[in-house]
C-alpha cells in the first residue's frame, strides 16, 4: 500500500505539523502546494525522526508543487509539467506503474467560474497527452482544484469528467456529440457534508452573498477507472488533527492561525 498526503499549507511554516502527519499516517509521498519553505527545511524536519528518510523529488518547471517521497526520486520521473501542474510517472519496482498528476489551479479570487472550467479542459487534455505518452491510463489526479466536485470544470465531459460512483466510472468513457470522453472516478463526493466521516470539506468560506456553500471540497483526488480497484476507499480521509493538536479552530473550521486554511487530504493506493 502506498500512502499519499496532499496539503495546501497556505505559505505557512508547518514543518512540525507536516512531520507529525507523515509519521502518524506512514506517508510515502508528500505533496505540498503554497509551500514557501525551501525543500531542505522540510527535509531536515522530516528526516530528523522519520525512517526511512524522505527525498525531495524536484520537478523541472512546476514551482507550485513540491513533492517529497520515501523512495528514490528516480522512480517518480516528470513526464509533463506546466507552471501549475506536474505529471509524474510513478514506477516503483515490482509495483504497478501509474501516473500521478498534482496540481494547484487558480483560485476564485483571480479566475471566474468560466475561466476555471476552461482551465479544467486544458488540464484534462494535458493528462490525456501524458497517458498517450506512457500508453496507459492508470492515472490519479490530486490537488487544490479550487472548485467543488459538482462544478462545471470537474463534471463536464471535456473537463475532468469526474463522476460520483464507481458503477458509472466503470463504463470508462461517455460519447457526447460523437466524441468520446474518458471518466475520472471522484470519491470526494462521498465526503461532502456532515453525514460523512471527518470534516464536511477541505476549505471553509463564509460570506454575506446569496449563494454560499460555507464548506468547500477544493482539495480533491480523482482516479481513472483503470486504477479504481487499487484505490482504497477506507484510506481516503480529510485530516483535522496531526495527532497532537487539532487543525480546526473552536468553530470547527480550518484554523489558519495554527495551520492552514485548507485541510490535508490523505489517500492510499494498493499498487
Amino acid at each position: 500500500m502506498v500512502t499519499f498526503l496532499f496539503w495546501n499549507i497556505g505559505n505557512r511554516r508547518l514543518n512540525e505539523i507536516i512531520c507529525r502527519l507523515v509519521a502518524r499516517h506512514d506517508v510515502d509521498m508528500l505533496m505540498l502546494t503554497e509551500c514557501a519553505m525551501e525543500p531542505y527545511e522540510v527535509l531536515e524536519t522530516l528526516n530528523e525522526s522519520i525512517e526511512p528518510a524522505f527525498h525531495f523529488a524536484p520537478g523541472i518547471g512546476c514551482q507550485q508543487v513540491k513533492i517529497f517521497c520515501r523512495f528514490d526520486p528516480q522512480f517518480l520521473r516528470p513526464i509533463y509539467e506546466s507552471d501549475r501542474l506536474t505529471i509524474r510517472r510513478l514506477n516503483l519496482p515490482g509495483l504497478i506503474d501509474i501516473l500521478i498528476a498534482v496540481t494547484h489551479l487558480p483560485s476564485k479570487l483571480y479566475w471566474s467560474d468560466a475561466s476555471q472550467a476552461f482551465g479544467c479542459v486544458e488540464l484534462a487534455r494535458s493528462i490525456q497527452v501524458a497517458e498517450q505518452k506512457v500508453e496507459h491510463s492508470r492515472t490519479v489526479l490530486v490537488g487544490d482544484l479550487n472548485m467543488n466536485p459538482f462544478e462545471d470544470g470537474i463534471v463536464s465531459a471535456n473537463g475532468l469528467h469526474g463522476v460520483m460512483t464507481r458503477i458509472i466510472a466503470r463504463r470508462n468513457s461517455r460519447t457526447v456529440q460523437g466524441r468520446e470522453y474518458p471518466f475520472f472516478y471522484n470519491p470526494m463526493w462521498s465526503l461532502l457534508g456532515d453525514a460523512s466521516t471527518g470534516p464536511p470539506g477541505t476549505y471553509y468560506y463564509g460570506s454575506s452573498e446569496q449563494r454560499v456553500f460555507f464548506w468547500n471540497m477544493f482539495d480533491q483526488v480523482l482516479v481513472r477507472p483503470s486504477l479504481m480497484e487499487c484505490f482504497d476507499p477506507d484510506g481516503l480521509a480529510i485530516l483535522d488533527t496531526d495527532g497532537q493538536a487539532t487543525l480546526l479552530g473552536g468553530d470547527g473550521v480550518p484554523d489558519a492561525r495554527v495551520a492552514s486554511d485548507h485541510l490535508p487530504l490523505l489517500f492510499r493506493l494498493s499498487l
Partner: protein
C-alpha cells in the same frame, strides 16, 4: 464564368503567428541538437479564434513543459499570449504595456524573445539538457 476573386489572393507579407512559432520550435531543435525541441500544438477554441500552445519537449526524457499559449482571431493580429506565471512576472518587470497583447508581428517577435530569454525558460532548458545527458 468570370472569376471575381482579386489577383493577389493569398499574397501577404504578414507571417502568421503559428508559422513564427513553428520556426522557433525548429530553431530550438537546431540549437540543442534536438536534445530539446519545440512543439506547437493546435488548441480547440471557438469558431473564429485560433489557439496554439508552445511546449519544450525532451524526447530523451519523454518530458514536455508548456511554456506559453497564444490566441488570435481570423486577422492574425493582435495576438494574446499567456505565458507561464513565473515568466509573466519576469516580463512585467521589463514591459509596462499590456504585456499579453502583441498588436503586430514585430511586437509578437519582441514578446517571444522576452519569453525565450527569461530566467525561467533558461532554467527549464538547462534542467532538461543536463538531465538528458
Amino acid at each position: 464564368m468570370t472569376d471575381l476573386w482579386p489577383e493577389d489572393i493569398g499574397v501577404t507579407d504578414v507571417k502568421a503567428p503559428v508559422a513564427i512559432l513553428k520556426e522557433q520550435a525548429a530553431a530550438l531543435g537546431r540549437r540543442t541538437k534536438n536534445v530539446v525541441v519545440g512543439i506547437v500544438v493546435t488548441e480547440t477554441i471557438s469558431t473564429g479564434q485560433f489557439g496554439y500552445s508552445f511546449y519544450l519537449d525532451a524526447p530523451l526524457l519523454q518530458f514536455s513543459y508548456k511554456l506559453f499559449k497564444i490566441r488570435h482571431g481570423v486577422e492574425l493580429y493582435p495576438v494574446r499570449i499567456n505565458p507561464d506565471e513565473d515568466i509573466r512576472k519576469e516580463i512585467a518587470a521589463e514591459r509596462k504595456l499590456d504585456l499579453l497583447l502583441a498588436k503586430t508581428e514585430s511586437d509578437f517577435l519582441n514578446l517571444l524573445s522576452l519569453i525565450f530569454r527569461s530566467e525561467k525558460t533558461r532554467k527549464v532548458l538547462q534542467a532538461i539538457i543536463s538531465q538528458s545527458r
